[in-house]
Symmetry: C2
Subunit: 435 residues, 2 copies
């Protein structure tokens, strides 16, 4: 088995080399802690998002989707508490001018040069911008630091337009921004990131039961998409580490090569947010229960996951090195639904036009249903290794015999078992394999 500390380096190198993740603006020396997803990265990320949306919005009947904008009215962030208290405490070195989180250097000299440090100062983590033609207080706006508030301010809109009854939830996927000082570990903590969040509205008193249900449901989701259970754990927050709005919170943590770290947090946010918005906007955000004729502000259970760190966890979790007949084989054993390419079609001989033509026609047929690719730029052994490394579940090889027996070889990524399948049966075969 490879050393855990190596794995991160290997993932970083694989991500760049095979087009999963590139540094933003790399030709200009890069932009710190901002990342671009390449041709394979965009596919795995799309698949994670689609899997989450399908599980929550399509397959359940108690959740609606939403896509609120990144820009919101600044009062939203006053109500939520982000303007006053979404802060890091920072110190500067008087000598080398570097800046650090106070908690990392408390009571010490500068870790870089040994110089004296300034007093600690508060620093808000929201990114600011200005809307309208001049920069003035009235035009100040923020890039949302969480997608959650877009859901809270639309609570009544969704109840009314969708005739929803509590308990129900609103799910949203979208970008959020934080002016992080300490970043690193590839996409794990970045300044621009994507969240998948549900705000699930329940009747006060039923919140603790729903909270427990959601912790289990979300833990199970990662396992269903192939993450190894021994690399996942639930960690309940201590009373003193709870956010100001939370009654309880459990993190789902993944055992990354750099240690156990949060993938998703499930919080009982109580009625904090709706109450705050009700007070500041003076709009009535209470819910009227038709049956019991009661009016109340719902409690909220929030499963909030990071898409970028999920993708990173799925990549590291599925990465393995094997020895096959004395050769090293790198495999991304991704769940079929997450794999960026589903099927690769490989001609055994690229200088035989009939073989190339048959392989291309099979690729063309598969493309309408699956992300399929054709590759003839190397020997078959090397082509297999390339596909294993990016997690392609099935390779179809077209050989000389295919021209007469009208059959091709389908190779399974994990077992490396090969099936000989009639060309006109491939689609059916794949429908079965991917169902």
């Amino acid at each position: 088995m490879q050393q855990k500390s190596d794995v991160m380096d290997k993932i970083v190198s694989l991500c760049k080399r095979r087009g999963f993740i590139f540094q933003s603006s790399e030709i200009y020396g890069g932009l710190g802690s901002v990342w671009d997803y390449g041709p394979l990265g965009v596919e795995i990320k799309k698949n994670v998002k689609e899997g989450w949306w399908r599980s929550n919005v399509y397959e359940r009947d108690d959740i609606e989707g939403l896509d609120a904008a990144i820009l919101m009215h600044p009062q939203v962030w006053m109500a939520s508490g982000h303007v006053s208290s979404f802060e890091d405490t920072l110190v500067d070195c008087k000598n080398c001018k570097k800046r650090f989180k106070a908690e990392q250097v408390f009571g010490k000299m500068c870790p870089e040069c040994g110089g004296e440090l300034t007093e600690a100062r508060q620093f808000n983590l929201m990114l600011k911008t200005h809307l309208g033609p001049i920069e003035e207080a009235g035009s100040l706006s923020y890039l949302r630091p969480e997608t959650a508030q877009g859901i809270f301010v639309n609570f009544q809109n969704v109840v009314n337009s969708m005739r929803r009854k509590v308990p129900f939830g609103i799910a949203q996927i979208g970008k959020a921004f934080r002016n992080e000082i300490t970043t690193g570990n590839l996409t794990f903590r970045s300044r621009e990131f994507e969240q998948m969040e549900i705000e699930f509205f329940v009747k006060p008193g039923t919140d603790e039961e729903w909270y427990r249900k959601w912790v289990d449901e979300r833990f199970g989701w990662y396992v269903r998409f192939g993450m190894r259970e021994e690399n996942l754990r639930k960690r309940q927050h201590e009373q003193n580490e709870l956010a100001h709005y939370a009654k309880a919170c459990t993190d789902i943590e993944y055992k990354f090569p750099f240690g156990w770290s949060e993938l998703e947090g499930i919080a009982n946010r109580t009625d904090f947010d709706l109450m705050q918005h009700m007070n500041l906007s003076t709009k009535d955000l209470q819910y009227f229960d038709d049956e019991s004729k009661e009016k109340y502000v719902p409690y909220v259970i929030e499963p909030s996951g990071g898409i970028d760190r999920s993708v990173l966890a799925f990549l590291t979790d599925s990465y393995r090195e094997e020895e096959v007949k004395g050769d090293k084989r790198v495999v991304l054993g991704l769940h079929k639904r997450l794999a960026p390419v589903k099927i690769a079609v490989l001609p055994l001989l690229r200088n035989r036009p009939e073989i190339v033509s048959l392989a291309k026609s099979i690729t063309g047929d598969l493309k309408s249903s699956y992300k399929a690719m054709y590759d003839d730029t190397a020997s078959i052994g090397r082509l297999y290794r390339r596909q294993d490394e990016i997690g392609t579940p099935y390779c179809i090889t077209v050989d000389v015999d295919s021209l007469t027996d009208k059959k091709v070889t389908v190779r399974d990524r994990d077992s490396m078992k090969q099936d000989r399948i009639a060309v006109d049966q491939i689609k059916e075969y794949m429908v079965d394999k991917f169902k």
Copy 2:
């Protein structure tokens, strides 16, 4: 037929009432020209994006996907010309302090109060922000005003990681931001919007042919997704309206209720962007053609579409009012692939538990494959009208007979024709209808 001018009002009202589009931060009085997509809006938008991605990235074999970040290195925008020339010319009224685009009031007094206007001043349309703990020149960053540049700076990364040969394209969907002064017409022109862009790299000399191909391909795409051809037109830019980087540009315009307006622009951007980035970054962005042993900077054909305005066009284009037996019926005749809900299951009698239970079980079965919904909150006539209005292609009605003959009624949105289908045949029936 309804008046064209009414249609926009009806669409705005339908969008809010049925959960397609809400004003951002509405409970705080709204944020100007920023919009949130509600439960049905997020689905139609997802379907437009998925349709575009599938047509371009999956079904073609000459395009790779990408998902670059919104934040980029500020030098990107110097190279692209946005820092120096992405500007509006504005004037202020000395009396009432209102601000206008100079082109709208040139040589006149204030259109609001008749006051004297100031000299014209330049105003950059990019939204600014600062990364890092202090706001200083070195931390200045921009929210991208177009997704295109994320593709150009990753050109070499994609060529290398995907072993691509020119001609090939890179496709991207993502948010962009512009500090627009003149906005309006719902989501047509907003400060935060989403683009679907392809940068297609070709050998210089073949650019004009590829440009024409892409104009036709993109025009055909809207038609294939059901937009009426008589409401679409191509408009070639005059030499004097071309952007500084473009050799030629054709807009695909849609006949909105407020007039012919741009849905998408297809531009021949020549080698302008890659050359600019090559000069400023001093990185070699030339392409080496293996076969001809030539080195060159590719030309670029850019089909650049707006997702929000596409959604708006699909909504207005499919909106119709009909009279059925003396009753008014509002229908969104959306293409099946774009419809936010694919199938609605409706019990004829909601006080018969066996009927409700059968209807819910059918909904559950369909949910794994289609966005399906169950509704029993009104009489059947009203339930049909609700589904017609949001464009649901099929309604399944469960009635008393269903309990004995194990059949249900499937109603087609457009023809209103009804088929009686066995419960265990519904899935097969729908597979056929949606293929």
